[in-house]
């Protein structure tokens, strides 16, 4: 009986492995130079400013963010996939915040592609997003890639030399297992 259960288990696993779909879509190629030049409104919220290491008002560029690595989530309030993924991305934030080696070194920021500040704020409140989210109403993020952005897209960048960004990794679609994601992108 034990042998038959083992055999059945093996059959099941083979079926799962053979039939399982590839996770995530093809990564998008994002160019660091135009991304480093995009400007976003400095958040009004003091906690957001402190998290990003910004001060004052006006606009900021991503290389100004005080971090060794920035995980950018390109999302849209209108995107049902982003809505479904929101809680999982919040978990990523918490995992980094609670990780001794990553805390303070890796920061998250959401960019609301084509979304007004009102829409970004609605998304953030609805899903209790703990990290800063900024509006990109004019969809300037599109200038950083030759193909159309799909949401959610995650872009992992490393600020370089004060004004540059090195693209480390891009991922389109669901993040999947968070530890695996972090392993892929970090150090």
């Amino acid at each position: 009986m034990n042998r038959s259960i083992t055999r059945a288990f093996v059959v099941a696993m083979v079926v799962l492995v053979v039939a399982a779909p590839a996770r995530g879509a093809d990564p998008i190629t994002v160019m660091g130079e135009p991304l480093s030049r995009l400007e976003f409104a400095i958040p009004e919220d003091a906690a957001d400013k402190a998290y990003l290491g910004l001060s004052g008002a006006g606009v900021f560029r991503l290389p100004q963010v005080k971090a060794e690595v920035i995980i950018i989530e390109v999302f849209s309030m209108y995107c049902p996939y982003c809505q479904r993924e929101a809680e999982h991305v919040n978990s990523l934030f918490a995992k980094i915040r609670d990780h001794q080696a990553l805390k303070g070194r890796v920061k998250l920021i959401g960019i609301g592609a084509g979304n007004t500040p009102y829409e970004v704020e609605l998304f953030r409140k609805k899903f209790s997003v703990p990290f800063p989210m900024v509006s990109d109403h004019q969809m300037t993020i599109q200038s950083t890639a030759d193909e159309k952005f799909r949401t959610p897209t995650f872009i992992v960048v490393k600020p370089e030399g004060g004004s540059g960004l090195k693209i480390m990794y891009t991922h389109v679609g669901k993040l999947g297992e968070l530890d695996e994601f972090l392993k892929k992108i970090l150090f």
Binding site: A8, L16, A19, A25, M77, Q83
Partner: protein, 198 residues
């Protein structure tokens, strides 16, 4: 016997696989039909602010029938006509409204989504969006009759991307027959709803 057990567990595995794939679509847009840019507007407006809203009764995806008059004296009504299921802008507009339920309720307003697609199509499409809190109505037969009565049926049989706001007395208070290629902004609709008597 052993073979039977193997087959049963194999079937379970296939079932798990199918369940995973139906929930696991990770990238929006894969199922969407790319329409390309369309003529921004292709109908003659017949309804203006201050008119009595045309009455209608339509079947909802949930199985019930929904009549505009049901809300008379009780709630304001926002009607969102979208052109067609499985097209890019439409497939994001309603999910956006879906996370704004509290804002609609705060303004004593019910949202009705209307498309000229039939019920099975709307069922599959809205399932992809997640669970919608507002009724989705099929203006399929007589084809586009309600869209026509609101002056938003295009010459190719789909509806304009249009938003109407009707107050509790059944009077049209807002009309936005939008560029079909563009998303109407939620905040504009909320600005209108906030001004209505509750």
């Amino acid at each position: 016997m052993r073979l039977g057990l193997s087959v049963v567990i194999g079937i379970i595995a296939v079932g798990l696989f199918l369940c995973t794939t139906s929930e696991g679509r990770e990238v929006p847009g894969e199922s969407m039909y790319k329409t390309g840019p369309l003529k921004p507007r292709d109908s003659e407006a017949t309804i203006k602010v201050g008119d009595k809203a045309p009455e209608f009764t339509l079947p909802a995806v949930s199985g019930e029938k929904v009549s505009l008059s049901h809300y008379r004296g009780k709630k304001n009504v926002a009607i969102s006509f979208v052109p067609a299921a499985w097209t890019p802008v439409c497939s994001q507009q309603w999910p956006g409204y879906n996370i704004a339920q509290e804002l609609f309720e705060k303004n004593n307003t019910v949202l009705l989504g209307i498309s000229v697609d039939n019920i099975p199509t709307l069922y599959a499409w809205t399932k992809e969006m997640g669970k919608l809190w507002f009724p989705v109505l099929a203006d399929f037969w007589p084809h586009g009759a309600v869209a026509r009565s609101y002056g938003v049926l295009r010459s190719d049989g789909v509806a304009e991307r249009a938003v109407f706001v009707i107050d509790k007395d059944g009077v049209v208070r807002y009309v936005d027959i939008h560029d079909i290629n563009q998303m109407p902004r939620l905040e504009e609709l909320m600005r209108v709803l906030e001004q209505l008597p509750k």
